[in-house]
């Protein structure tokens, strides 16, 4: 069953067509990875899905409701949760308050305090909870933002390059974290460059190239596709 349906979507910026006639379906309960070389249109498609850009053409639906013209906050209220490419946290606020702002719409009082503690421990940020978010390392800020996205308990978690700037160990832990939430029923759509991470988490993969869908299928099928290897992975990686 489809949770997100992108139908015939295009996005033009002046004379540049960043995304062209894209159809994409993200099914309930899957971890779907969107990959492609630089300039393929992955981040633009991501921003179209979260509502930061209006599409030039086409429609986007979430849980069978047309959300093409809805603002990002309305999409979040429907059950989406978003982590942007660059760490996007409240830098001048303490770490705990960052989590609090994310949680306060859903929980209050002692329940919220307990959930704050649980998330901070899960994200390995409990010791830094009183620090300003801007004082955290790049990787920790990425984790904090993932934590803020998870705090909403979304149906669909949208992650744009969630492991950028993380060490291999942190990247692996992030993958395990995402898989554990997926095992509890959360659908995940990830835009990612790091193929090791994609191999770790992906159940289905869509390859974008020059703004168009180039290939889609299981991770194994994509890895065996010679054309995908040529445009993105490099032939040596395919064998």
């Amino acid at each position: 069953m489809a949770l997100v349906e992108v139908k015939d979507v295009s996005k033009r910026f002046g004379g540049l067509t960043a995304v062209s006639d894209v159809d994409l379906t993200v099914n309930v309960g899957e971890i779907h990875c969107l990959i492609g070389p630089n300039g393929a249109g992955k981040s633009t498609l991501f921003k179209l899905i979260v509502g930061l850009y209006p599409p030039t053409k086409g429609s986007i639906s979430f849980d069978s409701v047309d959300i093409t013209n809805e603002r990002p906050y309305a999409r979040v209220q429907r059950g989406m949760s978003i982590k942007m490419q660059a760490p996007s946290v409240f830098k001048e606020l303490p770490v705990r308050q960052n989590i609090q702002v994310a949680l306060q719409g859903r929980l209050s009082g002692a329940e919220r305090n307990a959930e704050e503690d649980r998330l901070l421990t899960l994200l390995n940020l409990a010791q830094d909870s009183d620090k300003l978010a801007g004082a955290l390392s790049h990787g920790q800020q990425q984790w904090l933002e993932i934590g803020m996205a998870l705090a909403l308990q979304p149906q669909l978690l949208l992650l744009d390059e969630p492991t950028a700037g993380m060490s291999p160990e942190e990247t692996f832990k992030t993958g395990e974290l995402i898989k554990s939430f997926n095992a509890e029923g959360m659908t995940v759509l990830v835009v990612e460059h790091d193929m090791a991470f994609v191999r770790q988490v992906a159940q289905r993969v869509t390859v974008l190239h020059l703004g168009k869908i180039f290939a889609r299928g299981s991770l194994e099928a994509i890895l065996e596709d010679e054309k995908v290897a040529e445009i993105y992975l490099g032939k040596t990686h395919a064998h």
Binding site: V50, L52, R71, P72, Y73, A74, V76, Q77, S81, I82, M84, S88, V89, F90, K91, E92, L93, P94, Q97, Q100, V101, A102, Q104, G105, S108, M148, L152
Partner: protein, 357 residues
Amino acid sequence: MFKLLEGPQTLGRGKVFWSCFLAVLAGALIYPLFADSYDVGNFAYFLIWIFMALGLCLMWGYGGMLSFGQTLFFGIAGYGYGVLAINMGGGSATIAALVLSVVVAMIAAGILGYFMIWGGISGIFFGIVTLSATLVLAFFLGQTAGPEWHIGPARLNGFNGMKGMDPLAVGDYFIEGSALYYLMIALIVIVYLALRMLVNSSIGNVIVATRENPQRAEMLGYDVRKYQLLTFVIGSGLAGLSGALYTSWGQFITPSSIGLPAAAMPIVWVAFSGRSDLTATLVGSFLLLFGFQTITVYSQQAALVLMGGLLLATVMLAPQGFVLGIGQLVVNWWTGRRRRNDAPALTDASRLQSDET
């Protein structure tokens, strides 16, 4: 609910802070017993402006919206009070005139704010648009000298200003002198505590988060425009309260209280005090108003130059504000002293534990 009086968004917490607060309040309450009526009246006049400063602190310091329009809403409510008080008659109707004029200012703020915020105006452009609206009102009122510019019996009178309205009154009793002073104290306490509770509440959390990163706040499911509009309406409404009280205090209002020099004043008060804290703004604005009034007795030009110099010094030396900086130094010193005092006790405790084991 009272737990919200303290929180991450406000400086000052614990018994020491609230004891100081009560001591200052007690001092303010007994002041008229020792001062002459002229000084009490002057103090009441300084206090009138505090609401406008607190409103700007909420919008600029907490909401990240630099509004140059505080005197716009000051003027709307000030003239509004005049028009309503003259048309509704004196006595207790002046109380209704005060409330209604503030409501009118808030409605005006709601309309202007809606178009600005929903139109995506932010940052420096927010200041430019609000300043433009302020100057439009000031110039408009300046050309209303003719007899055709009246609302009922209330004449606007151009640059000479509107006069003839009654001061606040309950029945036949005029709220002037010490009574006005006590009313100001009561209103300031209510507004200050209410704002502390607002900024430390979940709404305040979103207001501050929106200042930090509006896109992230929206990505957490908040329609940040509504929170910005709420902040703008409350902040502007407080400027309106200052305006209505000012007209009631002096029984006149002129366009010069809206124009450019007047519009710049709240920015100076709040920047100098420390825009990101309500207490710093309250204390700093009062000190500046007191100093400004004292110097104005000798030379108004000198006072204006001093205000300009203070703004420059703040921007160059203490961008977060002088009063807030001093407040934070005191808090750090106090916290450090307590830690030093606690340290031996902790050391003793650990020694005892190790002895026992």
